[in-house]
Assembly symmetry: C2
Homo-oligomer: 210 residues x 2
Amino acid sequence: MNDVVNTEKAAKKLKKARGRPLEFNQNEALDKAINVFWSRGYEGASMAELTEALGINKPSIYAAFGNKEALFRKALERYKTGPIAFVGEAMKAPTARQAVEKLLMQAADFFSDENTPNGCMIVQGALTCGESAHTIQQELIAYRGNFEAMLTQRFDLAKKQEDLPSHVNSKQLAKYIATIHQGMSVQATSGATREELLAVVEIAMKNWPN
Amino acid sequence: MNDVVNTEKAAKKLKKARGRPLEFNQNEALDKAINVFWSRGYEGASMAELTEALGINKPSIYAAFGNKEALFRKALERYKTGPIAFVGEAMKAPTARQAVEKLLMQAADFFSDENTPNGCMIVQGALTCGESAHTIQQELIAYRGNFEAMLTQRFDLAKKQEDLPSHVNSKQLAKYIATIHQGMSVQATSGATREELLAVVEIAMKNWPN
DNA sequence: TATATTTTGTACCGTTTGGTAAATAAATAA
DNA sequence: TTATTTATTTACCAAACGGTACAAAATATA
């Protein structure tokens, strides 16, 4: 039985849990939570609605995830590595221009996807809110800041590779792209179609530095 | 006394009111309401906070404005003709390019003004929300639609005046400008400075059709 | 002065909010 | 079997939500 030394985490996964087993899959529950927070925003999503969407009783949610704030955070983290994983992928394109084009075109698809809420959870999760949501609001601002920093880095790299001219200001260009991206999210939330968003991308890409 | 026939409205203004006079100025109260809704959003602004900000007791607010929804609508209407009156003014510039440049540069100032909440009330008033705010959410979407229609009209006019080339798609260009505008609002809400926003505007204007 | 009319302040309403206590159920370990 | 551990269920909590009843106060009219 005790033949190999395992890490605590591995042990936890291998050993069958001691008490009554969970009756739901945590990741599936998080996926459902993502959808509620995504369409309602942090404040607009009530625990009652979350409870019903997850199909789990409230005390089970609290036992598994902590509280509403912690649930949002975990949903957000999963949102980042799931639905919007394409963002990081797009950066790997050979040129900065291709990276941005890929990012924005995929965003147009993603924001207007009829199988998911429109727009971006990170933009509309808590743009404005009451005092009680202030922490979450700040965390989302930080997420958007990281997004912009990622773009800046990509452009700095492109300049080193002489893929972008040296006179380009990476930060300013990144903020411009982020602005388009966030504007597209607002547009999608308001009902803009995939085609409309793609037309916006086409115009936005016309002034790429050369 | 009854020497001239007045309209009902005029009569109401001339005749001294019959009962106890209002102890506050309705427009000043609306200005304070604008600030609360602007920074908190419709749902994030509680009647308790509004009551305190307006310096009026709740029953007086309800007597004067109806309910929270009606208060928001009246504040919004005043926001349109007050703080953002510059939007309509900008359209009067001699060329479409100048109109847009004026619009976005003034928006950069406005969104980052330290004397008022950051961003735009129409964008962040109810981007996402619970069911109870659905009507307000739709009304704000309509407001943004009107903004875009105004831009489209301006570009159509410019095409007639041969100020814009005939191949330009007015609707698409309008949506591009609206996207930038709304993205700037998100950026300002997240802490972007006037200078940063102006840099975004400069890049955005580089690809103006010629 | 008396009356009608309107606003104000206090104190309250039912509902919904996020969150939890406590008993029961389901599993493992001894 | 019995004890231990964990999850679920029901029922509940205080606080905050939007909204209002009602009496007192302030004005114009008669």
